[in-house]
């Protein structure tokens, strides 16, 4: 154990374009051809329109093939095997970690800890760093936008340790202003934990001033990057957040793999949250000596195929011009706002497109979101309905649930045309149809 790999990665000027030599922006049709799941009928004659990307994104061929290659050609366990397949698996697995480190601009590859996803990553911070360094009366600042993954772990910690949770309020159009965060900061604030992008409203949170304000108060900043990292480059070298959590499956990678990025000195000071094999250097009957970073947080056999798949996803995304992708998604949102305004009874929740990423929260008059999603599925339009693991936000919005259409790099304006037509049809079906059953 304790195999060292690349050590320090020089911080690139443009980390998202480093993985391949020539960043390109392929035509949208070519790009769509990379995603086999897009090319299907969900029922005979009904083509898929996939707008549930905030829940999980589709996988391009290079990711599918990378996972298949591991399973088919070198499905060995990593790190300790003294044989060719294990060496190959270890190399692919650790190379994926290096790719992820470059993708987010981490100074050192050891600052990238594999987790099962964003949720586990934030739980790890709360259970390890939080339990070690927070005491009664300390304060954690969250916001009204948070997904339960960035709320419940802190609530559990607060209950156990007498820590106080404070909430920065959002504006009526769903924006989180830095001033709202500032209002709840105090001398007792030790942690500011906020999302980079709301998973319900798409609101992009202005992290830069929030990070500066938190650091001025001596607080650490935890960023839930589940939605933000796949859509906007968060370069932890340029934006000095202390922890960043995100998931592979929301950025073209497999499910079951996620990342906790943490600054080295913070990770060094944290005890492991879980024990087992691989996370120790020496073990006796009396105790154990923890392995070095990042392994001390990764007991047991890791999700090898998934990590390799995420590495392939990062390669794929790195080939694209991130500015062009962001601009494409912004154009889609501007189009969607305009197009849905033409459909009666649709209220788009959250801010104007300039303040948001590719997420469209909707309230459609006279239709419960679950029923709406059901009726849209008749047209092959996949959206999500419910509270999206953000109950306090729905309480703030005064809505029991919402419908959400979310775009990613492969979506087109045609997708939003089909969404608009399907919503109009759902409303016709519910309100303007001659009954099939005799009265």
């Amino acid at each position: 154990m304790g195999r060292r790999f690349s050590g320090i990665i020089p911080r690139p000027a443009h980390p998202r374009t480093m993985a391949t030599a020539v960043p390109t922006t392929p035509a949208l049709d070519d790009l769509r051809a990379d995603f086999p799941a897009l090319d299907q009928e969900v029922r005979p004659g009904v083509r898929l329109t996939y707008l549930d990307n905030a829940a999980t994104t589709l996988k391009p061929w290079p990711v599918i093939r990378a996972v298949q290659a591991f399973d088919a050609e070198y499905p060995a366990n990593v790190h300790r095997g003294i044989h060719t397949l294990s060496e190959r698996a270890t190399e692919a697995y650790e190379s994926a970690r290096e790719k992820v480190a470059r993708f987010i601009g981490a100074a050192e590859v050891e600052e990238v800890v594999w987790t099962r996803g964003t949720t586990e990553a934030i739980n790890l911070i709360a259970q390890s760093w939080g339990r070690t360094f927070l005491k009664e009366g300390d304060e954690i600042v969250l916001s009204d936008l948070e997904h339960h993954a960035n709320l419940i772990p802190w609530q559990m910690l607060a209950k156990e340790r007498g820590v106080v949770l404070r909430f920065a309020e959002i504006s009526d159009d769903g924006r989180l202003e830095p001033e709202a965060v500032e209002r709840v900061l105090s001398d007792r604030t030790r942690v500011v934990a906020v999302t980079a992008m709301s998973n319900v409203l798409g609101t992009v949170v202005p992290l830069e001033p929030i990070v500066a304000m938190a650091h001025d108060r001596g607080a650490i900043v935890v960023v839930d990057g589940a939605q933000g990292v796949p859509h906007r480059a968060i370069d932890v070298g340029r934006l000095p957040v202390d922890f960043l959590a995100f998931s592979g499956h929301k950025m073209c990678g497999p499910t079951g793999i996620g990342v906790l990025y943490g600054r080295r000195e913070l990770l060094e000071a944290m005890p492991p949250a879980w024990g087992g094999g691989s996370m120790v250097l020496r073990v006796s009957r009396e105790g154990a000596e923890w392995n070095e970073l990042p392994y001390k947080f990764e007991p047991g056999t890791p999700p090898i195929a998934q990590a390799i798949g995420l590495g392939a996803a990062v390669d794929y995304l790195s080939r694209l011009d991130s500015e062009a992708v962001a601009s494409h998604e912004r154009s889609l949102m501007e189009y969607a706002h305009r197009r849905l305004a033409e459909v009666g009874g649709v209220r788009i929740l959250g801010p104007e497109p300039e303040y948001k990423g590719g997420i469209l929260g909707m309230d459609v008059e006279g239709v419960h979101p679950h029923d709406l999603a059901q009726l849209l599925d008749r047209h092959g339009v996949a959206v999500r309905a419910g509270q999206h693991c953000a109950m306090p936000l729905h309480h703030r919005l005064g809505l029991p649930a919402t419908a959400r259409a979310s775009a990613y790099l492969y979506n087109t304006t045609d997708d939003f045309d089909r969404l608009a037509e399907a919503i109009a049809d759902a409303r016709r079906l519910l309100h303007d149809r001659r009954p099939r059953r005799p009265a």
Partner: protein, 144 residues
């Protein structure tokens, strides 16, 4: 199964996907309003917890028979349609007949295939809740 319920199940089962959803919406439109004397009891004790939409169920006994009443918001037509199916199919049924309704009723109507596992499980919760209420009224009436 009572003949009325059997006929409704058959009608849904024979419908294609598009017709089935339209039938459910029609049923939703046929749900009678909650009688005024029950409106003030729309509380947690009468709510079906498995449904995210606020679904309230009420039972009244008329000798050996049961009368079912419900309140479901019109914004949730599929749930409302299913609840109406239960009311139309089981109105005036005996306790035994309600308790004998097969638990896979949703599958038999073809609605499970239409609605997906998660929503079908919410609707199954309505049937479970109804049976529980019927069983309770039966044991209460025996206790009295």
């Amino acid at each position: 199964m009572p003949a009325a319920l059997d006929a409704l199940v058959e009608e849904l089962r024979e419908a294609d996907r598009q017709e089935r959803i339209e039938l459910l919406i029609d049923l939703a439109n046929e749900l009678p309003p909650l009688p005024e004397h029950l409106s003030r009891f729309k509380d947690e004790a009468h709510r079906v917890p498995e449904c995210q939409s606020p679904v309230f169920l009420f039972l009244e006994r008329d000798g050996p028979k049961v009368r079912i009443f419900a309140d479901v918001p019109p914004e949730a037509p599929t749930v409302r349609g299913f609840v109406c199916l239960l009311i139309q199919g089981l109105d005036g049924a005996t306790v035994e007949e309600v308790l004998a309704v097969p638990n896979d009723l949703i599958q038999r109507t073809g609605m499970a295939e239409l609605l997906g596992m998660q929503r079908a499980s919410g609707l199954a919760g309505v049937l479970r809740r109804l049976k529980l209420m019927v069983a309770r009224t039966e044991s209460d009436s025996k206790a009295n």
